[in-house]
Symmetry: D3
Subunit: 243 residues, 6 copies
């Protein structure tokens, strides 16, 4: 069920349905020229739709996506919107508290943007401490188990993926209408020596925001990873829902 489609009467029944609330969380951030600025938002919504379908609409409460995320690394690139950790986690906490008032016991944040991680963690801990809703934080859980098997190009950085073979494959599978693969490029930027150890905006070392080989992306690769991720999220939530 979609929260925004329900009426007031249905709202009153929320507490009796053992639902898991699903909050898609994206970002508005440049993703090179073959992917749109809304890539993370499109992915968060599509991935949550898959999860909702798999868990069953009768078991879930789909929330409106939070489109804006924390984007420090590319905040200088025109078109990016950057929200601070404080404001972002504040919003998540307040969503969680309102859901708890309605009797919801579980909320899963389906996030597609690594930069949101700290704010999500802060919010989840705050909710842990102050109210009775259990929060699950998902940023493609299980993807790391499939990626080595399906992806062909090396990742230029161990911790980040961006507009690359992986993310472009996600888009080709989940939102192909928003991909212009003709503009995909392969780019292995020269990371500054100490990139991993000191704050470094990505705009300092690349004009087009691609970390790796977007050209080698395929729908099939995206499908393999995403389906695994969806299954993993399902498993986790179903175990919880039984208890």
């Amino acid at each position: 069920m979609k929260l925004i489609e329900m009426n007031q009467e249905e709202g009153r029944t929320l507490k009796d349905r053992n639902l898991t609330a699903l909050l898609p969380l994206g970002a508005v951030e440049v993703h090179a020229n073959h992917l749109p600025i809304g890539t993370d938002l499109y992915l968060a919504q599509a991935l949550t739709d898959k999860l909702e379908e798999k868990l069953g609409k009768e078991n879930t409460l789909l929330l409106p996506a939070l489109p804006y995320g924390q984007v420090w690394s590319l905040r200088e690139a025109p078109g990016t919107i950057n929200i601070s950790n404080d404001v972002l986690s504040g919003m998540i906490v307040q969503i969680g508290k309102s859901l708890e008032k309605a009797g919801i016991k579980r909320m899963a944040i389906v996030n597609t943007h690594v930069g949101n991680g700290d704010a999500m963690k802060m919010a989840a801990r705050m909710l842990y401490d102050t109210c009775d809703i259990k929060v699950f934080l998902f940023t493609y859980p299980g993807a790391e188990e499939v990626i080595p098997n399906v992806c062909e190009s090396p990742m230029p950085h161990k911790g980040y993926f961006h507009a690359c073979e992986i993310e472009t494959s996600y888009m080709l599978y989940l939102c192909p209408e928003w991909v212009d693969q003709s503009k995909a490029i392969c780019q292995y930027p020269d990371f500054p020596e100490n990139f991993d150890y000191t704050p470094t905006p990505w705009t300092d070392f690349m004009d087009t925001a691609v970390l790796g080989d977007a050209v080698s992306a395929t729908r099939e690769k995206g499908e393999a990873i995403i389906e695994h991720v969806v299954n993993r999220m399902c498993e986790i939530l179903e175990k919880e829902a039984i208890t």
Copy 2:
């Protein structure tokens, strides 16, 4: 143009296009049984779409809607999500600052929920003081000029409208697929004596959140008011865009 559909290259051109950014701002709040919990969000998006069309896509930058708003009065009703003024205005301010970095000079907030007013004003003043983007705050501007001519039922309260003839008419015009007019009711609640002078949750005096006669709503009434509102927003923004 929609910001989330643009690519990085197009992002770089934002500063040269004399665009007005449009931010739809809604709320997640129970609206009786004939209207969905997402009423304000649906309206914000549909109204902004009308405005975008009228101003011309080449003159506007459509932002993703902010779905969550400040809903103190109905925060106890299950299904409502309530965001504090601080967090909401913080998010608007940070969106504005990121747009200014991209060279955008004007942002209009197309709001459909009266409860967002204080946070919007706080954010607009903060942006006035700290950066070079002009913010317009719209909550159905000009509606008050048309409502007395087209609406038939009296308003139970001078300052608020909610799930009533007016708002239901908006929905019948802009998002008829989300209205179940068979469940519309006419309700003139007994406001507590001092409702206007002391904080009073609406759930204290009505079970179903309707302020007036939703039955008398029609698509035509909605059209008359909304079209006037859209024209008014256009006028305001076009004057600005010329200077």
Copy 3:
């Protein structure tokens, strides 16, 4: 009773007297040349004195006036003092909490400056959520019912009045010693086109802060409105005090 005139013994009896605390709230803001910078403060004190008298000193606890208010619109005019919403509402909240400790159950804020409205609302909601004192927010309640009958000059703006026929009449009735009617002017400023929709300091469009026709002000007009306002405040508070 005035709080500041009581001694410690009397302080201990506060909890047994079913008193309504009265907090005059003004502002320090330029009011043209015929009215003093302290206009709102003088009015708040005089209006509260009338209210105290009408309710009976034995039923009220008069607090010292808070002289400083939120004055965004005229903050650039030398002589104006501008307090932020956060600090102003913080002070009101802490006054309310201390009163609650003393056993006071009702506090009415008698405010004469429209710009204080948001901070007052924030404070009243915070007190609603965190302690057991009922807060009443008064900014000339009922004035709008009398003004159309007694005032002759049109208002240049639907939402604001300032140093005009209305406010000058208030002063002529309540504090005539502070009015120099020989300097009163009639001024209908050219509001910027989008004044209602975007933050606009008043100093941008008028040198002398008058919104309308101060010349037509009279003591009698002030008396008619103010007496109605006082009666209205009394009614509201007396109903509460009985319950």
Copy 4:
């Protein structure tokens, strides 16, 4: 000159007059039964009036008193109002910034309540760091030089005076109409052993808030100390005004 008595025209001349702004700062705090709860406020106002007279009205800008102060130690006594350091210093800072906008270069805070000291210091340092107004903090400067000569009763505590020979003498000199000397008592409370080293509300060890011998207070003692304090404040400010 009193700020609140000036008009807008006069406000514009503030920047040219080399004025010292005077801010009386008191507190609302129980002071036993012979002195009123408003003692600190009455004293702050009367002391500032003396200072204004001595400095010359043409050299000063008298501000409305801030009645509410930080009163941790007696916050449990009914009738006391306790404001946090944050809110109190925030208000002082914002008053200072508005004055600086008007061209005022010096502000003296005439404080009569020791508990306001930390907030005053925080505010003065903040103003030092962020704007061009010089702040003077006065809590009876020089009193310690005269007290040993004129007071007869020992002080029960080295750091605090309250409703005692000293403060009652101040009141007998400055505001005799608010003293009921027939209720004055002599009280040397048993301070808890570690009073000076751990937070200890005064209400833990005395029912009536008197620290010493209020009976021995006289108008003459008050005059001797207060006149010295006024002279001292004058000296300090006149030296500054010349440079």
Copy 5:
């Protein structure tokens, strides 16, 4: 016992031992050329060691020193580290709360830097209000009783001592290895006229941070004062521990 030397098992026994936690609190601040920048930290540690020894290791829980303090007055001198009151008191509060979780009932802050006073007081009051641990604030308690008897040089200021006869004597007694008495100077700076009444960085009026006669410092003077201070702290804490 030192907290950091204990293991997890021992941690579980903390609640049963009736221990007083000791928190050394220093500062990193220039202290002329004969004393090191870490003077306050060295003193805080050495003083706490003495206290621990006197109280008995079995009665105390020694915490790691907090090295960084609030140093407004000398913050411009290179080498000084300045922490704000908010952050410093926040850290103390959180240490206190964690100790309370472990069952500790008393914490003494052994502070050697006057500038930390406000933050300590804020923290102690916050802990008083929010949890069940009793906090003792020590900044050389009792020193004022011995200093007049043992020190020979006048103090240039009634409220401050810094790198002078007193503090240098403390160092000669507690940490002689960090004193280079050959560089000690005697300096009576010309305090600005209004030093006591308006924020004044010490770097405005002296190049070398010495307030008085460091040359006359001796180990014996330090011993006399410090031993008295240690006894005084012991007395206070032992009284508490019995109750």
Copy 6:
């Protein structure tokens, strides 16, 4: 050079020496029974000492260790001290700003506790945005390259190590005097199913805080990893120092 050992004169020369400031950052957190509660602090200090030696004392400015860190996961275990991200990052930021005032251009945080990561990142970004000091964040950089080669026992969790073969080996190499290897245990706790996806205090699933096989730790393993880490930190900082 150690900052706290320098005098004021030496402080003035800081700006001319092209120094890298080194800030050891630990935590106070239970580490089972074979390691002390101060493990992270001992390690931070010893590791920084090695780094200082390798870089050369003439090239570094050693700061006092910050002993207290963010310890959410084991905050319930008696003996642990837990500092919030806000306070911890605030302290780091203010240390950085003071160093910048002294002319220091680089600061490396030598951290040994994974839980400090978010606060460190927040602080480094804040310093990046507001002042001219370059911050390096080190939490055993390069360790992941050596661990697979020298460690024999599997890690029970991919992201955390705690009081295990790795950390115990670090202690055996760097601070053997604080290890009681006779109490070392091998423990592979049953992580709750969804440990990685929802906030879960470690005290929920293990009584003794060991993640893996502490028994297999050796001094040699510690040496191999730590020496590599020290070299890596050197490399990074030396590259920076040249530019």
